[in-house]
Structures are given as C-alpha cells and as structure tokens.
C-alpha cells in the first residue's frame, strides 16, 4: 500500500499530487512532462520535495512536517530507469549483485531465481555495452529486484525498445508480476502497458492527479473513447 502527497515547484512545472492505493501494481499514466518521473524520484529519495509525505506499507519514508526523510540508500526501493543505467564497468553478474551486496539481504529473490525468470544465464559475463536494449532492461529489472525492494519503480521501462524487444520485456514483466509479489509503480504514457501490467491507474496531467481508477474502469473508459461514446479517455 502506498500513501503519497507531495508538493514541489520546478522552474517549468508545479507538482501537487496526492493519492493512496492498495493495488499491487499501480500505474502513473500521463503525457510527457506530467510529473510522473518526479513522483518516482520522490518515492526513491532522489528528489527531496518541498513538502509531502510518502509511506509504503505503513513505513514512512518522507514526512516533511515531522522532518523525516529516509535517504535513498536506506529506502529499499528498486528503481528501473528508462535508460537502464547499468554500470558500464561491471559485468551483468556484478550489476545484478550490486544491490544484494549493499544490503546483504536474504529472501526468496536470489540470483538463481532472477536469472531463471528473466533468462539472463547466457548474459552473466557480458558487459552492458554488449547487450541489446531489451537485454539491458531485463538486467536492470533483475538488478532492482535483487536489491530486495519493498517497492519496484519502473520508469517507462519499454520506451526506446523496438517492437520485438518491447513485447519480450513486457512478457517478462507479466511473469514477474505473477511469480514475485512486489509492490510496483509503473510510469508510462502507453495505454497498452497499463492494460497489461497495472491493477490501478493514477492519471497525471501538468503535475496534478486528474483521476484514479481501477484497471477495469481504465479499460472501459478507453473502450468507450474508442467507440466515440466519451470525449476524453484515461
């Protein structure tokens, strides 16, 4: 469960967002510049908002009124960036184990499980520059999961991938959702990604929450929009 409220003013965007969700996979959906990635950065601890409160599963990560701001390194948030951000000087295996070493944690998500789920076995000794876009994203997802996160943040994980790689990574993400019960926040501007992965959708526009709907409502609205029965869709 996530409870989030935050305010932050950038030079070109004023963010004032609040939502609460019990969904296992929550999508933040909206156009570029809506403030989606800023919300993810605030959850991860990479952006310190001017004010706000963020709690996941009841654990407070940020509360500006109480002066609480857990550093990013202690939040246990797995973040899959749009560009992967694999460490170029480390092998795939070293990238995957980076967060595991840092937290020295042990639970049911281990290297063997991730390698099997994401089919990374043949890539373990390669360097990131020798991977395709889809392979890089799979490694980035595996690396984030191996840091034993309380929440997984996916920032447009399929953007920039060609159609085949996109379908492939989407299939892996579906499989992970079924096999691993990790609370996930997905940022995307692609409705099909929302439909494939999310349980609930928060629509953002210009730094504000426009609407929060279940995935069934989201699909129904898009169907109605396609049929011409409503003017705007989520």
């Amino acid at each position: 469960m996530i409870e989030l409220s935050l305010r932050h003013t950038f030079a070109d965007l004023d963010i004032d967002v609040a939502f609460r969700s019990d969904a296992r996979t929550l999508a933040l959906f909206g156009h570029s510049g809506a403030g989606k990635t800023s919300v993810l950065n605030a959850i991860a601890g990479l952006l310190a908002p001017q004010s706000g409160r963020i709690a996941i599963d009841g654990e407070c990560l940020l509360d500006s009124t109480r002066g609480v701001c857990v550093p990013a390194s202690a939040r246990r948030i797995g973040y899959v960036f749009q560009d992967g951000r694999l460490f170029p000087h480390l092998s795939v295996r070293q990238n995957l184990l980076y967060g595991t070493t840092a937290r020295n944690a042990a639970d049911d998500i281990d290297l063997a499980t991730i390698v099997e789920l994401l089919e990374l076995g043949s890539l373990l000794d390669r360097r990131p520059r020798n991977l395709s876009g889809g392979e890089r994203q799979r490694v980035a997802i595996g690396r984030a999961l191996l840091s034993h996160p309380r929440a997984l943040l996916l920032d447009e994980p399929l953007t920039g991938l060609h159609a085949e790689a996109r379908t492939q990574v989407l299939d892996y993400l579906r499989r992970l959702k079924q096999e691993l019960r990790v609370f996930t926040v997905l940022v995307t501007h692609q409705a099909d990604e929302v439909g494939a992965l999310a349980d609930e959708v928060v629509r953002l526009s210009a730094g504000r929450v426009v609407r929060q709907v279940t995935i069934a409502e989201f699909i129904a609205r898009r169907t109605a929009f396609a049929a011409g029965t409503i003017a705007f869709s989520d």
Binding site: L46, A72, A74, R85
Partner: protein, 231 residues
C-alpha cells in the same frame, strides 16, 4: 657523449624516486579535494580553488621559500616535526614535498575533470541499490574515473620529475641527497667541462618527458588495444 656517470645515475634515480613518491603522497589529498570541488557547493570554494592553483602561478622559487618558511627548522610545521625527529628541509624527503606541492594542481585538475565526466545518474542508481556515499565513490565514481586519475598521475609525475625552482630553494643542492636531475643539469652547466653531462641528462629528461606525455595521451584517450580484449 658516453654512458651516464655515477653521479648522473644518482640524480636520475633520485628524480624518479621523488617523482613517484610525490605523486603517491599527493594522490589521496588530490582525490579528496577533486571530489569536493566536483560534487559539493560550499562557501569558500573559490578561495580553495585559488589556493590550489597558486603553485602553478607563483614563481617556483617563491613556493620553495614558502615551504622553507613552513617546514624549515623554525617554521610553523618544521618545528613541530623536528620535535618528533622528522626533518624535511635540505633532505630528499623535502624534495618530495616540494614536487608534490608543484604537481598538486595538475593532479587535482585532471581528477576533477574525470569526476565531472562520471554520469551522476549512475551514482543515483547505485544509491537506490543501497550504496552509501563511500561505496558509491569506491565502486562507481573511482573506477569510472581511473583513466583521468592515471593521466593526472602521469602529468604530476612529469611535473615533479622536472621540478627545479621550489626544490633548490627548499632543499638546496646536496649531492646524493637533494640533487635531482634538473639540479644536476644546472650544476653541470656551471661546471667547466660539464657540457657532455648536460647533454646526457637533457636527453634522459627528454625521453622521460616524451614517455610521460605519450602515456598521459594514451591513458586519457583510451588505449588502442582496449576494445580487442574487453569482453
């Protein structure tokens, strides 16, 4: 022209020792200062940068005099060091200090550029994976800056190897103790019949300088064989 004489070998060996040790001594301080200048904004930053550049701008003799004033027997640090039995003025260890001070700005500048060129987003990614500041530095920033650090070390070594003014002011010209290669050349220039020795040592200097420059260029630009063996 012939081979190097015993005294010339001694001067060459001393210069190599002073050059290597000065880089080794300056490196930890240079890494810390370069990181501070690259990653932090703080009051007094401009002052620190200006102070750091002083050895490049000041006449080296003035730097040598300043070192003598600080580390001489009656200097602010020299007296304290002498109290625990450490004397650096007029010793080869003083030559190391002089060379380290003179090469320091080059070292810091190279390392700072290397740190600036590390993608900060990778450090942020490491942070989300649980890495605190020291681990991010040692596992991400430092390895990705190695080429720049190595190039800076080579440049600082070359600067230290050729150091003359600050060294002769601070530790004088004592054969076998502080007579480095440039000082030996100066000595031979003022000695009747010393020209063959000057030529020999000048050639040695040229070789070391060229090798350092080539090494710095290759390291900074990436070795041409690198891609063949990676992965």
């Amino acid at each position: 022209m012939g081979a190097l004489t015993h005294d010339e070998w001694q001067a060459l060996a001393l210069s190599l020792r002073v050059g290597l040790l000065s880089v080794a001594c300056a490196l930890p301080f240079a890494l810390a200062l370069a990181w501070l200048l690259s990653r932090k904004r703080f009051p007094g930053r401009v002052l620190i940068e200006a102070l750091m550049f002083l050895p490049l701008i000041l006449p080296p003799v003035v730097t040598g005099y300043a070192l003598l004033a600080l580390f001489g027997r009656h200097g602010a640090f020299g007296e304290a060091l002498a109290g625990i039995g450490i004397v650096v003025a007029f010793r080869w260890t003083g030559a190391v200090i002089a060379a380290a001070v003179m090469g320091f700005p080059l070292l810091v500048m190279s390392i700072r550029v290397a740190f600036d060129n590390v993608d900060r987003r990778l450090e942020a990614a490491a942070e989300t994976l649980g890495a605190r500041a020291w681990r991010r530095f040692t596992t991400i920033t430092l390895p990705l800056s190695l080429r720049g650090i190595a190039a800076g070390c080579v440049l600082a070594f070359a600067r230290a190897f050729g150091e003359f003014g600050a060294t002769i002011s601070f530790v004088s010209n004592i054969p076998g103790e502080t007579r480095t290669l440039p000082i030996a050349i100066y000595e031979l220039l003022n000695t009747p019949g010393g020209m063959p020795g000057v030529r020999r040592l000048a050639i040695v200097s040229l070789v070391v300088a060229f090798a350092s420059s080539a090494a710095a260029t290759v390291i900074a630009g990436g070795a041409p064989w690198r891609n063949r063996f990676d992965d």
